[in-house]
Amino acid sequence: MPRALFEKVWQDHVVVEEPDRPSVVYIDLHLVHEVTSPQAFAGLRSRGLRVRRPDLTVATMDHSTPTLPKALQVLDTQSKAQLAELEHNTTEFGIRLYALGDEKQGIVHVIGPELGLSQPGMTIVCGDSHTSTHGALGALAFGIGTSEVEHVLASQCLLQTKPRTMEVRVDGRLSPGVTAKDIILALIGRIGIAGGTGHVIEYAGSAIRALGMEGRMTVCNMSIEAGARAGMIAPDDTTFEYLKGREFSPQGADWDEALARWRKLPTDQGALYDHTVELDADRLEPMITYGTNPGMAIPISECVPSPTDFADGAQREAFHKAMVYMALEPGKPLLGHKVDVVFFGSCTNSRISDLRLAASVLNGRKVAPGVRALVVPGSQQVKRQAESEGLDRIFKAAGAEWREAGCSMCIAMNGDELSPGQYAVSTSNRNFEGRQGKGGRTFLASPLTAAASAVTGCITDVRRLELGPL
């Protein structure tokens, strides 16, 4: 029987399958960060358990870490205690840690692929919903809660009810100015933020194949914003080229063996999905959100919807609430709307290709007066790579702040945050109320749109940047 990518990875990892019980599923890689792990380690200790496979567990510090230059870093008492707790836990249980100051430290979903830890066909979990990112390599990767973090630490396994599958086919070719971020925002806008609930999405089609690895990560990253458990993309030569030679990628004969195994992962001809959704890449435009969840997204040249666009009462109510929070007028264009802050970063868009896109727009231009632009690379390695290419000089010459690696203003736990009422164009993944700071208002968009908006000081279509502010 023909099998889909998800089915193959799932079947490979089922340890126990019994009727009327969730399956016991083996986890190949467990990523850990400071915010969602302390209570799990405490649980282990209180039961007198050890970490079953410290060799399959890797930790980093990212959520509450400062991104100011090292000399200026100040940690509040709670963050300091949380980071110390991770240091203590990883030392006690023998887990590799990329701590603050380490040259390979970074956002957990940036360093996993970057170090070659995340590989095709693996099961990968982390106490973080954006673990779906690693599915870009053909892994089954999903976020879990802290109780489940404890389960995996203790047993290297998880109890899982088998999810359903959804194929998202994106055929055609993206126009200039349209990126991976626009694909995923368009999808969420289409199916809604609960559209993928209970499902694992497989992204397929010529426009997905044409994306580089980092673009694929951007797409898979936001699968959770459509409510999906995970997002996956079948591994191909793009994947293998990306992985070859990375620190934890297989080497020598192991590489050949792995490659042979990985080549069998793509979905078989004729495999069935529970649902299929199609997007036409030719017709996609740069996307931007106007509301308080990632499903409230429109093509940048369109107007914010009107209440009459929503047939459903609850949706109309949610729309109204979003308009009040965002202080926007229904039916009006977003283009030209004032922007206070532009944030380049997060596990969605902080990799070297994202920074190159941003720099391509900012090169020789200036961030508009009164606008604060923050560039936060996803990892220390991304930071050094960008510096070796001179991107940091482009950002600084434009008047943007060049920071250390971390989650930063995506989650606003580290002091990088919006002030109440401020508007930000952000390359991150969530525009929830207060997500980037209490009272802050977020427009989610691609690095290109963010850069164009930084230059003009208002929401700008990068394709029209040469024409000047609208």
Binding site: S147, T197, E317
Partner: protein, 201 residues
């Protein structure tokens, strides 16, 4: 350990907004803790307190008559977004034991079930009827019975709700799911023996 859930009779606090994400349930600035204590006071912090830090009288959790209620009636897709288990910890810290919604986000639902917080999924008609009942009589009570997987509405009518038999069993007995996984120690070892070499970490 996980508290048992068998049944309860309680008043219901309605918060019928769709897509309430876990950032609203417990904002990220409260996630810097290394234990589970005290999160209840920050539940819905940005909706519950004004910029001066004082409780907003219009928010249901702040109303005197709602103190002690153990059931929340929420809008569709409750608990979407971040995987933070601090969300169910905060809800339970405030005193909630059951949540009624037309749909829960996947990770949030899992997290609730691991903590003895019961997600009760109903269809839109039932949710609307319950809201109407509560508008008529804010003191009206519902009964949630896990043994029979039924919700009794204020008018006495009963509706079933879905829950997988394993989670139901664990909640009824107060069983911890880790114990169940660890009972397969030998099968896990056998899997490790036959699976390919793991990462050279």
């Amino acid at each position: 350990m996980v508290p048992k859930f068998t049944s309860l009779v309680s008043r219901v606090i309605p918060l019928l907004v769709d897509n309430i994400d876990t950032d609203q349930i417990i904002p990220a600035r409260f996630l810097k803790v290394i234990d589970k204590q005290g999160l209840g006071e920050h539940l819905f912090a940005d909706w519950r307190y004004g910029s001066d830090g004082l409780p907003l009288s219009g928010f249901p959790l702040n109303q005197a008559e709602n103190q002690g209620a153990e059931v929340l009636l929420a809008g569709h897709n409750f608990g979407c977004g971040s995987s933070r288990e601090h969300a169910p910890w905060a809800l339970m810290g405030w005193g909630f034991r059951a949540l009624i919604s037309t749909g829960f986000a996947d990770i949030f639902r899992n997290n609730c079930l691991k903590n003895g917080l019961l997600p009760v999924q109903v269809d839109r008609g039932i949710s609307a009827r319950l809201l109407a009942d509560l508008e008529r009589d804010p003191m009206a009570k519902v009964a949630v019975d896990l043994e029979s997987t039924t919700l009794r509405l204020p008018d006495g009518s009963k509706v079933g709700f879905p829950i997988d038999s394993f989670s139901r069993h664990c909640l009824l007995e107060g069983l911890d799911q880790l114990g169940y996984i660890l009972s397969f120690q030998d099968r896990i070892e056998a899997y490790e023996g036959r699976a390919r070499c793991p990462l050279p970490v």
